[in-house]
Structures are given as structure tokens and as C-alpha cells.
Symmetry: D2
Subunit: 347 residues, 4 copies
């Protein structure tokens, strides 16, 4: 890949060595299947330690599946899921939540910097018990969110409080969970169940795994029919150890935090560099490993002509996204800035 | 795992070295995501060579997903899928075909040794065009089938002929495709599209991969909305190379055939040994890597008490299943036979 | 319609005068909508009297909707519904149960004279708690059944007992409920909840209404989300009084029983007459208002050529169905017998 | 009902005499079922005359079913349906479009007076061909719309033009079709297919029928699998003549237009009267048979205390809805205005 496209997404990155080693080790001998393997059992214990509370864990293969399956346990077919209008579940999953819930409605809300507010949520929830309306059932927030910013603990608490007061469950899409954790400097417990999160999509793929996502339940009473829903969705791997072992490598020692710190630091370096370039403007504050920058159309055209694959997740045609990963280096950041600087200067 | 449980299923086996090497190699550098990587592109070409015709290929993570997605492109929500009563899609996928098709009906048929016949299929198809009836849409056969036997080319041709005469599409569940190929000694083309198969679930997981399945279309006009259905199902991996590279290692040279030959040979060795034991009887001819044996209830109880996990895929409580894999050894077979022989003698 | 086709189905019959009068009366003034009208409230009370227990009642417009909605409250999307292979839900609803349940599987069973047995049901239920299998959830029987015979109270009790012992709910498709009641000479309570029926599709359309079906719950705890499921299915009429008032006319005094007695009596007259004709043979005992007769292919062809619309609900191409309705007369029966007699004689 | 609640909705009104007479006449003798009756056949011809083009017609029982079934033929399970945020399909059908389409997403848009604009539609459609996004498939507008205003022919043409340029189909929810027609003074053809409408939900229930809705296709190639989808949805009546005959009475001579003229005239009388009351303000222009008025909270409370059932379709807690029907009289309007005037004066 050209250096310029190294920032296309964190899903282009390779897996980190610790993950690959754990996988190779898990492959040394035969092992029971369908979640009966030692790695899957250990994963639940390990996540229990990390979250400081017993959790129920289901490994799956994609973030889309994690989100849609989690929501399908919280939301009936005639239910409403409240989310930000830019939420991945709303814009980038081709209807997966609708499929897995059997037809639930996503009720999207505007909100600055990609985040919903408790106030707008409160105003948007209505119709409970009225048979004409799809029924409010769950709220989903993304942490770090799709605009690269991070909900504060207080914001999460306020949203969860509104949700719970209406008997709605709260889901967190944690595709970039570790990146948010690094930014906030809080514990996993503080950012989730202690703030009111009921179910978490815990992502590993973007931060150093090959393919590793997990649905983490903090309340056993919400697990419900998840095992059947997971199997029915084709998300129960026979060789389950190959996701769980990745996670065990990822969560050993400081690996996942180290990866996220590097990605965030490189995003900060890039963000500062971009802000200094003439004609460029950050679309959102840079709070995780994603940087969104508004640039002149002429510059976008120029860059495209030179091989930059402009991600269509860019927002309303204006902000261009650059994403740093666990393996992004300072020299890659500086090389990108140099290219952009050259082009900016010549426009 | 105890030696006795080594034969619980081929999904307890590790991945073979060639697959692990290909995976490690694919991880060396960053790469485009969502199927734009070189491995995914090469996989389509490689399968085109193997099947001697251009194919459209979609890697997915489980056999259940492969089957259900393939069928969902062939079958409307008000459609009928015809299959054997023991078909994996009918008994072991917890409703995945129903989910992904939006509610299609599986019409199951009896048939000796786990295989349907063209004659029974012809008698079972009815109601086309009648608005009261779910509409005949597709046929699915499993090769090698759930009873461990293999459809002959003539049988496949006859079934496909009936199906096509009624304008039904034909799907093959190839979770153990390589094992069947070894048994028949035919080419992949002869066992699929040349015999009338329209879409194939091509399995790698049970025969030496970590997690690698693919939906292979032999007719471009049947692909339809598959890309959207796959994404919606949470089956489009961002790091798509991690399935495709496994397949590339698996399909390089003779690896997949070598793996299947070993599994089949060990199953034959086991089958012959079991047939010689007093009080045991093969439930079906052994034609791939699965052996089904009818044994006295007292023996089953004895074995269970000694740690044998009797697979509940056992058929109507009578036949016990033993499965050989690519890494099963002669000594493991002989050890199992010795244990069984001891127990048989003492009952 | 030609006299010969008067017996095509009981759904070709007009509504009886009492139903039309009740409808006209309900139309005299404006009235609240969506079930808030007096007729809908009275209907629940009236059915409570008839069934000698409080019931929860939801009027709907078709038997297909009644069945599918009732089953959707009893069966999760990954559930199994056990029924006879000839059940209307299995063969004549084009996948409605699958749609409304979100993909449940109908597990069909053979059984003499169109009826399942407790014994076969017991043998067919398996897999509870096993994540690979769709989960046993409900049983549906049709009374009178699709072959025109009637379950005895003892048969219903035995089936319900097996179902409940496995924690399955029991649904009765009562499209011809009144006809069965007349045959058995028992009370509505005895034929339903006292025998173990949990939910009933109570049919009026075939026995003297225009369009009037109702889902009747005998256990409040099973109602669950029905109101939302009904609305979502487009089955909550704004002018709800127009179904409820039909039922109030139908259930006033003896109207519904009178209608069913007439239909059954005419079926008996026809059945006896057919049994006396040379070359004809009853396919099933005549126990309600449907008569199934096996006749030579040459005779079927002759009749078809003379205008008889052979119903494709005929069973496996052999038995021809004749149905008597509330308004069938002796002279119509005798006219049909005369025509058949002539044709039989000339073959 | 108290006079004050006569304006709660047009669905509280009785059926008009011509409809009841047609129904009674259709009940005089037996008739074929499932759409094979003469009334259903005649209905297609009659609507063909009215729309000046051959049409394909499917009678159904509710507007919700008509809308959801129509949209399900135009929209795949992974599709997007574009509509106004106040559209009945979006707010008052408890997820029916999602159920019948298998999970399509409703993309709602703001728009003055309850109507979307071609401009906003153009800006909102994106993502065609991108596998991450649900796919733009159809547009639905309501005529007269949920705010009681009416799209001009030019507005419909502009919306349809944008839709068709993106290969989207256009659906019209015509629950109050006749009312809009009277307002615009155009022909049914001009307001539908000549302006670009592809499929129409043609409502009769609110304007003088008991229960009569129909899906009308203007393009045979769009009918697709509708007959199967209708049956599967429990919307194919066995006694189909009882909807079709209502429509035949409704569409005979000038009945439907006469009914709509009366409703609209009474709404105008009410609207003018309300505008003259102190402290009240019309929320939208009155262009059909619905009047929305903003009134002080104290007045709403007062009216509620005196028996006015404030409809929760009121918009954001401010506008109260009054609906005139075919049988609303001048004296009823004047009586309502007198009551309101008294209360206004005393606040």
C-alpha cells in the first residue's frame, strides 16, 4: 500500500505479534469446539478481571455481528433503538440490526461531534405502551464515536440514566473501546457498567487482532436467548478458540493498552500537523485514533489523483478521515504530513 | 483431550502448518480491507482454476453462514428449500436458513444413508404458482452427507435435473467437500457445476483450516444481492485476507487433498476395526471421514462413564459417530479400537 | 355458481342473516376505533361466558393471520412449531407462520385421518437447550382437522399433556371450531382450556360470518406482546366494530351452533350418499362438515370437464373434497349425489 | 359518543348507505373465494376506468397492510424507504413496513407542513452500490399528508423525478386519497401515474367504507411477488367479495367524491371558525379533512377534563387534531365551535 493510504482505516493493519503468538499456541493441539475450549473459558474470566465484575462473554467475528446480536437481545422486533445519526449501526451495517432484531427501527438523533446527548434522547423517546408506535427498547452509543470523539463518564451516565428511567437498555459499540479508554484515563469498569452500560460490543480487530470481537453482558438477566440467536446468525464458530486465543494474547499484560496508546499518540501528532497546514481545518476535536479534516475540494481532487483513497465514511463530502493504528509510526505520520503540505502549498 | 475424544468431530482439529504459514505471511504488512486485498482476489482465481470455470467467491466465517447466505440468494422469503431430513441446515443450524431467507420453509425428505433421491424429490415438489403454498425454490444436498456417505455423480445429476426441470436452484453443502472428492476420485468440476450444482458452500474449517468457508457461485446470474446480504449478515470481514490467506495455503499444491485422503483413510481403518468388534454394527457405509456405529446401550453407558462425549448428532439415539480428521494418526485409531475392544469384551 | 361447485368450500357461502343484521346495527352511528368500541368489549365478555372463563380476545380478519399471530406469541424466531403434515399452517398459508414468528420452523408429523398423536409428538420433540437445534416451543392442532375428522377430548388432553411436560404451549386452529363442537357434543370449555389448549384461533368466517376470526387466549400470561404484534401485522382494524359486531350476531343465542349443525348434517347426508355409489370410497370418516372421497381418475376427469372445480387441497391427488356450509340444503346435496350417480354409472 | 369527540378521527365514522347496500347485495348468494368473485374482478376494471389506465389491484383490510405490502414489493430487506418524519408508515404502524420488507430502513426527512421536498430527497439519497449502506429503494409520500396538507402535482412530479433518476420506485399512501383529489381538482390519473406514482395505497375506510383498502399497481412489472406476499401476510381474504363489493358501492357514480367533498367542506368550516377564536392558531393550512390547531395548554387541559380525547397523533404536544368525515354535519361543526368558544372565553 502506498504510504498515503496507510491512514485509510485501522482495519488495514496487521495483527500484533502477541496476538499471532497466542493463535499459534492455541493451534498446537486439538481442542473442544463450540466454546468448550479453555481459551474461551479463560476469556470470560480475564474480562471479568478487567471489568472488575463477572461478565458473560460471546466471541463473534465482526463488529457488525456483535452490535446487531447485542441489540437483538435488548430489542423486540417492534422496538426502537436510539442512536446518533452517524452511528455505525445506522449508516454502515447494511441493515444488520434490522435483520437480527427482526425489524426494529433505528431512531437517529443529531448531536455535536458525533455524540448524542441525554437531553435530546429524553425528548426523542415517546410512545411507550401505545400500540401504534414501535416501542422504545434500547439506546446505543459508540465509544470512541464515529467522529473520533469520546463520551465523558458524565455524558454516559446521563444518557444511561435517561434510558433506564424509560426502561430502555444501554448498549455500547466499543469497536474502538481501548482508544477511548486511553483518552479518558479511566478503568474499563468506570467507562461501562459503573456508568450504566448494560451490554458492550468489545472490539479487538481494529487494535491489533486479526478478527476478534466479543459481546460482553454485565447483567446476566439480559443474556436471554443470546446463545440461540448467535448460533442462528452463523456466529458460533466451531473452532471458537481461534477468536478467544487472539483475545487472550491481546489482553495479556498491557498489549491492548499499549496498542491504543500508540494509535492515539500518532493521531494526535497527525492532528496537530494538519491543524498547522494552511486551508485545512479539523472537523472534530481529535480524541482517539481518528482525525477528520475539512479540506478544499481542489485538494481532495489532487490527492485522489495521487492515489489517496478518500473513504466514503467522510461526512457529508467535506471531512476527510485519517486513522492511525497500533502499528502506525511517527515517520509514517510525518511522511503523510509532508505530502499534504506539498499539495497544500501548490494549490 | 483424552484420546477417546479425538474422534468427537473434525472441528476439534488444529489447522495444518501450510494454513498457519499462509496466515502468518498475510499478516506481515498492512493490506486493504473488505475483500480488496490480494489474497481474496487470488482466491477467486485459484478456485476458478480448481473448478475449471470462472467462479464468484465470497469468504465467510462459518458453514452455517455459508449455507444460509447461499440459500438466501436462491430462495424468496415465501419459498421452499428441499433437503434431507438429517441435513445440517435442517437440524443443526438453529434456524439460520430461516433467518437469512426471511422465513423460507425447509421441506425435509427421508432417504437411505442420509441421501435424498431424485425420485422422492420429484414427488415432493408441488404447488408452484399456487398462492396458498410456499413456493418451491431450491434444493440443498450435502456432500459428503451427514451420514458420512457420498452422492455419486449420477445421483447428483438426477437430483439437479429434477430441480432444474421445476426451475429450482441447486445448492451443495460442501462442509466435507474434499473428503467426498477423494472418495469419488472425480474432479471438483465433475462433482459440482458439470453435474448441475449452482452454488457451493466450500468448507475448509473441518479439513485443516482455522476458520475458512466460502460461498462459490458457478452462475454469475445467481449472485444477485449476495454482497449486500453478506454485509447485512455480519459476514463481511474487514480483515478479509485472514480467511482468504488460509484458503490460499489450503489450496496450494495438494494440501487440501492430502488432508482429506488422510482423514478418509483413518476413517476406513476405524470402520474396518469397528466392524470386526462383537456387538457393533456400522449404521451406514463409511464413504468419507465419518463412521457411524450402532452399539448396545450398555456399551454407550460404559463409554460415557469413561469420558467419551457421545455426540448428540448421533442418529435417533442409536448410532455413535466417530470422525477422523486431517491430523488423525494410525496409532490414535488403533488406541480407540483397543479401548472399544476391551469394553466390548467385558459387557 | 353451478350447483356442483356449491361444495367447493365453506368459504364460498354467504353470511347468515343474524350476522348481517348485527353489522347493519353496528353501523348506525359513529363509534370509537381500534378496539375501543362497545362491540369489541362485549365480545370478550360474551366469549368469556361461552368458554366459562375470562379470556383475552383479539379480532382479526383471516384465519391465516389468527394462526400466525397466535403462534408468534408462543414461539421465538428460533423455535419449533409441531403440527400435522396436512395442517393448514404447514401447507396453505404460504409461510405466514414463518413471517410472523420471524423464522420459526414447522415440524410436521404424519398421523392417521389428519390428526397427530401424543405418542408421535413425544417421539418428535427433542433438542431443548441444545444451541444447535431450533427450540421446541409450541404445538398446533386443528379442530375439526384438515381431513374433516375431530380430535376426541382424550386425544387433545394427551397431546397437551406431552406438550406441557416439555414446556411447549398448545394452539388450536379452530377454523371449523363450531363444527367440531357439534360433533363431540361437549362444551367449548371442555374442548379447549379444560383439555389443555392455551390459545385458540376462533373462526367465524366459514360458518356464517363475512370475515370474522379471533385469537382467544385462555392464559393472560401468554398474551405477551400480542397487541404490538397484531398492529405490526396490519391486523388491528381501525373500524374494529365491524368484526366484533359480526361475532356478536354469530354468537347470539344459538346461531353459531345452528349453523354448524346444519353444515354437519348435510355433510353426513352427502357422506352416506357417496359411500353408496359404486367405485367411490370415503378417504376419512366424516366427522364435521367436510367429506373426502377417493374416486377413479376417469371420474375426476369427467367431472372436471363438466365444471367441477377440483380443489387442490385434495390429498395426494386422490381424495376429492366436498364441503357443506351453514346454508347448504338437502336438495343441493341430493342434486350433487344425482349428478355423481349419473357419472359413476356411465364410466 | 359525545359531540366533542365526533372529530377524533375519520375512522370513527360509519359506512355510507351505498357501501352497506353493495355489501348486502354481494351477500345474497354464494360466490367463489380468494379473489375469484365477480366483485373483485369488476373492481380492477372500475379502477382502470377511474385511473384511465389498466391497473393491477389487490384488496386488503387495513391501510397499514396496504402500505407495508406495497413497500415490500418495492424494497429489498436491505433497502431504504424515504419518507417524511411524520409519515404514518414511520410513526403509526408499529414497524409493519419493517416486518413485511424483512427489515428495510425508513429514512425520514423533515419538511414544512408534513411534506417532503424533491430537494431534500435529492440530498438524502446516497450510498447506492456501496455494500456498507442499506440501499436506496423507494420513496413514500402521503396524499393528503399527515398534517392535512396536499402535495401539488408539481411537487409530486419533482419528487418522482428525483426518485426515478436514482432508480427508486414511488409509493403514495392514499389513506385520504379522495380528500386530496377534491382539494386539487385534478383527475386520479393526474395525481398518480401521470405524475410519477408507481404504486398506490387506495383508501376507502376513512371515507365511507367499513373496511376497504387496496394496493393499486400502475406498472405491471412492479407487481412481482405481491400475490404471495399478500397471502403470507394473512391479507388474502377467503370471502374477498366483501371488500371488493364495498369498493364497488363506494366507487359507483359520485359516492366517493361526494363523501370527500362533504368532509373537506366541514373541515374548512371548522378551520375558519377555529381561526377566529382568540388564542388559537392553525398549525398547518387546512387542505383536506383534517384541521390542526395550536391551543394553550390550559385550554387543552380544560377540554380533556370535559371529555375531549386528545389524539396523540397531535404533533409535539402542541397541535390538536380535528377530523371531519363524510357524515360530519354543519351543526356538529357549529356545536364544536360553540363549545370551544365558551372555553376560550373563560380562560
Amino acid at each position: 500500500m502506498s504510504s498515503i493510504n496507510t491512514f485509510a482505516s485501522d482495519n488495514i493493519s496487521s495483527a500484533c505479534p502477541e496476538v499471532m503468538e497466542a493463535l499459534a499456541k492455541a493451534n498446537e493441539a486439538n481442542s473442544p469446539s463450540y466454546g468448550e475450549d479453555p481459551w474461551t473459558r479463560d476469556l470470560a474470566l480475564r474480562l471479568g478481571e478487567i471489568f472488575e465484575t463477572p461478565v458473560t462473554v460471546f466471541p463473534v467475528t465482526t463488529g457488525t455481528a456483535a452490535n446487531a446480536l447485542a441489540l437483538s437481545t435488548l430489542t423486540p422486533a417492534f422496538g426502537k433503538i436510539f442512536c446518533h445519526e452517524l452511528a455505525h449501526i445506522n449508516t454502515d451495517e447494511c441493515g444488520a440490526p434490522e435483520l437480527f432484531t427482526g425489524g426494529a427501527k433505528l431512531i437517529d438523533m443529531a448531536g455535536a461531534n458525533g455524540r448524542i446527548t441525554a437531553k435530546v434522547l429524553e425528548e426523542t423517546i415517546y410512545g411507550s405502551g401505545n400500540v401504534h408506535h414501535a416501542q422504545p427498547a434500547s439506546v446505543s452509543i459508540t465509544q470512541a464515536c464515529e467522529s473520533g470523539t469520546v463520551y465523558s463518564i458524565e455524558e454516559i451516565e446521563a444518557i444511561a440514566s435517561v434510558a433506564h428511567s424509560h426502561k430502555l437498555s444501554v448498549h455500547m459499540d466499543g469497536a474502538r473501546f481501548a482508544n477511548a479508554l486511553v483518552t479518558l484515563g479511566v478503568t474499563p469498569a468506570e467507562m461501562t457498567w459503573q456508568a450504566g452500560i448494560d451490554v458492550l460490543s468489545f472490539g479487538g480487530t481494529k487494535n491489533g487482532c486479526l478478527t476478534a470481537e466479543a459481546v460482553v453482558f454485565f447483567k446476566p438477566e439480559l443474556v436471554g436467548d443470546f446463545p440461540f440467536l448467535q448460533k442462528r446468525a452463523g456466529q458460533l464458530l466451531s473452532k471458537s478458540r481461534f477468536i478467544s486465543s487472539q483475545f487472550m494474547g491481546y489482553l495479556a499484560d498491557d498489549v491492548w493498552m499499549r496498542n491504543a496508546r500508540q494509535a492515539n499518540a500518532m493521531a494526535q501528532r497527525l492532528s496537530k500537523g494538519l491543524a498547522d497546514l494552511p486551508g485545512l481545518e479539523l472537523a472534530y476535536p481529535t480524541q482517539s485514533n481518528e482525525v477528520f479534516v475539512v479540506m478544499p475540494a481542489a485538494l481532495i481532487d489532487r490527492l485522489s489523483a495521487n492515489g489517496l483513497a478518500i473513504n466514503d465514511e467522510e461526512l457529508d463530502g467535506k471531512a476527510v478521515r485519517f486513522v492511525a493504528a497500533w502499528n502506525t509510526t511517527e515517520s509514517e505520520v510525518d511522511a503523510l504530513l509532508a505530502v499534504l503540505s506539498d499539495h497544500c502549498a501548490s494549490i
